[in-house]
């Protein structure tokens, strides 16, 4: 036992003598958390993209088109561009012909454009005709823009669809018979529900089947929309199909997005930090220190376990510093859960340390070890879910997620910080982390005894 403690003390002395190591442990987490917080916007009040430049040209002459543009301007995700700034700084409205050249020139001001053409509402097909021009440098962004466009149209100008229906009807019935139909319908509506018959007739002809009225009425009555649950009053479709959502896990979490992400960052940070410290085994070997140590009453096992304990201790400290940083910078609630979090950190750090030890055991040089470390850490983080939810991964890859210590460490962290599990509920995850540690360390120790490090 005494040699083990002496070796451990030596590692900590070395650690505190190295300013780089100390600042990596205590300052880098803060810098990293701050940076990630900025990049992923986890601290903004509302999430989602904002200010995507979108050029809009209304060539339809339809007043509903102008209302659509106004609605798009209100959409926070877009910054609507409708004017062409000439070289002499004067402005004129954009035309459809401007769009392609503007989007193709380098450093274009916008990469998405919508044209409301003359046949925005036509009689040859039901529905609206819009032209969408894009320079889809980023697939996700393109889909986001598409989706937002559809949502805006459906939410804010439902009468455009009504107009389309009217135009189709006019084509098949003829103008006179459609007028007759509209008038008859207006009569029925006004006699059944009340209202001015002429006004209803005018609305029907303009494609407004009263949906707007309906919505205004509903909002007036209070009801479900008033209690602030996930219903947006202006959205026709959320009126037609009402989905009541209730978050059953993590509902009380203060910074939900950050809480979901921080575990993944933490574990990656730790993996990199620990694989770097595992290469210290090589430094000690190359300096001949193992000769001196092994000539004394110290066994190989004691050297390895002292490194392991050192790695775990360092890992727990680094993780806790990281979580405290996340607590103070991202508003994640950490302090009330500190005891359980420390426990999860302990098991996660043990798993990460064993990984670092295995790397050192199977590598022939520190360079080989750090190269392999980078590759494996990326791989494990990717399939373990540290970068994006594993549900986005192909199914056959998802099967491997559960083989990574990244996955289980994140399970542990989110178990404490998100689901607010107690010790009992955490035990299975901790058990799996302990199992991973045991297996990896067994392989590492076995490899060390045959490998190059004590050669």
């Amino acid at each position: 036992m005494r040699p083990l403690l002496a070796l451990l003390r030596k590692d900590f002395l070395n650690f505190f003598r190295s300013k780089a190591a100390v600042s990596l442990t205590f300052l880098t987490p803060f810098a990293m958390i701050y940076l990630f917080g900025q990049i992923f916007g986890v601290n903004r009040k509302d999430s989602g993209p904002s200010g995507i430049p979108l050029a809009v040209v209304n060539a339809s002459g339809n007043p509903a088109g102008d209302r659509l543009i106004a609605a798009l301007r209100n959409e926070r995700s877009f910054r609507v561009v409708t004017e062409y700034v000439l070289p002499d700084k004067s402005r004129r409205p954009l035309t459809e012909a401007d769009l392609k050249p503007l989007m193709q020139k380098p450093g274009a001001d916008f990469r998405f454009a919508v044209v409301l053409p003359a046949d925005l509402v036509s009689d040859s097909s039901f529905g609206l005709h819009l032209k969408f021009l894009s320079n889809p440098r980023n697939e996700i962004e393109t889909q986001t823009v598409n989706g937002l466009l559809q949502k805006t149209i459906f939410s804010h100008v439902p009468e455009l669809l009504g107009q389309s229906l009217q135009a189709r009807a006019k084509k098949f019935l003829g103008e006179a018979r459609l007028d007759q139909f509209n008038r008859a319908l207006a009569g029925v509506v006004s006699s059944s529900f009340g209202g001015d018959r002429a006004e209803i007739d005018r609305q029907l002809a303009a494609g407004d089947f009263g949906i707007g009225e309906l919505m205004r009425g509903r909002r007036g009555t209070g009801g479900a929309a008033a209690d602030g649950k996930a219903e947006s009053g202006g959205d026709v479709f959320s009126q037609l199909v009402r989905i009541e959502t209730e978050q059953v896990v993590g509902a009380k979490v203060r910074s939900p997005q950050a809480t979901g992400l921080v575990g993944g960052w933490a574990i990656q940070f730790l993996l990199f930090a620990l694989s770097a410290s595992a290469t210290s085994l090589f430094r000690e070997r190359d300096a001949g220190l193992f000769q001196r140590l092994l000539a004394s009453p110290v066994t190989r096992a004691q050297i390895l376990w002292s490194k392991f304990l050192y790695g775990v201790a360092l890992g727990v400290v680094q993780l806790l510093v990281l979580f405290v940083a996340a607590g103070s910078l991202l508003g994640i609630e950490v302090l009330p859960y500190l005891p359980l979090l420390t426990l999860v950190c302990l098991f996660a750090a043990a798993a990460c340390t064993s990984f670092g030890m295995l790397l050192a055991a199977i590598s022939s040089s520190p360079e080989a070890a750090s190269g392999l470390a980078t590759f494996l850490i990326m791989l494990m983080s990717g399939i373990g879910g540290a970068w994006f939810p594993i549900s986005l991964l192909p199914e056959f890859i998802q099967q491997f997620s559960r083989l990574t210590l990244v996955y289980w460490s994140m399970e542990g962290f989110s178990g404490v910080l998100w689901a607010r599990h107690g010790l009992l509920q955490l035990l299975p995850t901790l058990g799996i982390l302990a199992g991973i540690t045991a297996i990896v360390m067994t392989i590492a120790v076995w490899r060390f005894n045959r490998g190059k490090i004590f050669g």
Partner: protein, 305 residues
């Protein structure tokens, strides 16, 4: 005290030690003299239990030596060929770690650390990180770090590599003092001067074999000559070289002839021949042969090659 019996060690196909046998008496200062790759460090590693021999046995005080034997660990001290210390830590911290590994602690450990640092004149700078030390200072610390636990047998693997003359002298004097106080030492080197100065007995090792074993006197007696005469290799001395060649061994190195007469050859005859050729006596130096000559004689190669 220490016995090696027919020890053989291979690294793959390479035979690093071949059938080495060695007996060491308590209190000996034994030199292991050999060029690079001779097998000196391998011998040390086997004795220190860092490696297992492929065949043969090693024993300390009659007990078989093995990596598992902790009494043997306590009786041995190893000074590795490299400076095996933690560069970020101070001399004091380094010594404390190594002392603790041998079970020393508390006041006794502190006292021994003080003594050790004083003995190699590092006491004043004991708190500095040793990466700020000169090579010689690090070497001195590397040496005393192996002695804190007061071993019976010290294994010194080329402890003076890259050392300034002053540190070298400090190391010599320290080791000689320890030896006088009863420490048995195995000292490996490829400097014959070191072996000559320090060692009571020397083993000449080359390519994994011990070629000769004995005190300096005994080794020199193995030479078929007792004296070596050197003179410049110039056209003027060429006739002399031709005349004496049949009477001994003549080698030429760095424009110098080295003549080692056979025992039956009388030196007066040599000088008579020189005088007859008109060569002045100041051209000639006569000296006792060195271990260098022994090595050359045994291997046909120079020690420094």
């Amino acid at each position: 005290m220490l016995q090696l019996r027919s020890v053989t060690k291979r690294y793959g196909a390479l035979v690093a030690l071949h059938d080495v046998s060695l007996d060491l008496a308590p209190g000996e200062f034994f030199g292991l003299l050999g060029p690079n790759g001779a097998g000196k460090s391998t011998t040390m590693a086997l004795i220190a239990g860092l490696r297992e021999p492929d065949s043969g046995t090693l024993a300390l005080d009659g007990q078989p030596l093995s990596a598992a034997s902790s009494t043997a660990r306590l009786a041995l001290g190893l000074v590795p060929q490299h400076i095996a210390l933690y560069p970020e830590l101070s001399a004091e911290q380094n010594l404390r770690i190594f002392g603790e590994l041998y079970g020393l602690h508390g006041r006794e450990l502190r006292a021994r650390i003080d003594d050790a640092l004083t003995a190699v004149q590092l006491h004043e700078r004991r708190r500095e990180p040793i990466k700020q030390y000169s090579g010689g200072m690090q070497r001195r610390l590397n040496l005393v770090a192996a002695l804190l636990h007061r071993p019976k047998l010290l294994l010194c693997d080329e402890p003076t590599v890259g050392v300034d003359p002053q540190s070298r002298l400090a190391i010599f004097e320290y080791l000689e003092r320890c030896n006088r106080e009863g420490l048995t030492i195995i000292y490996s080197t490829h400097y014959m001067e070191e072996a000559t100065r320090l060692c009571s007995r020397i083993g000449i090792i080359d390519q994994g074999r011990i070629l000769a074993l004995g005190s300096l006197e005994e080794l020199l007696q193995r030479l078929p000559f007792e004296e070596e005469i050197r003179f410049p290799a110039t056209p003027a001395t060429d006739p002399l070289a031709d005349q004496i060649r049949p009477h001994g061994e003549l080698t030429t190195l760095d424009h110098q002839h080295r003549f080692r007469p056979r025992p039956d050859f009388r030196l007066s005859a040599f000088f008579a021949a020189a005088e007859a050729l008109g060569l002045p006596p100041r051209l000639f130096t006569s000296q006792r042969p060195t271990l260098e000559a022994v090595f050359l004689h045994l291997t046909g190669r120079n020690l420094r090659e």
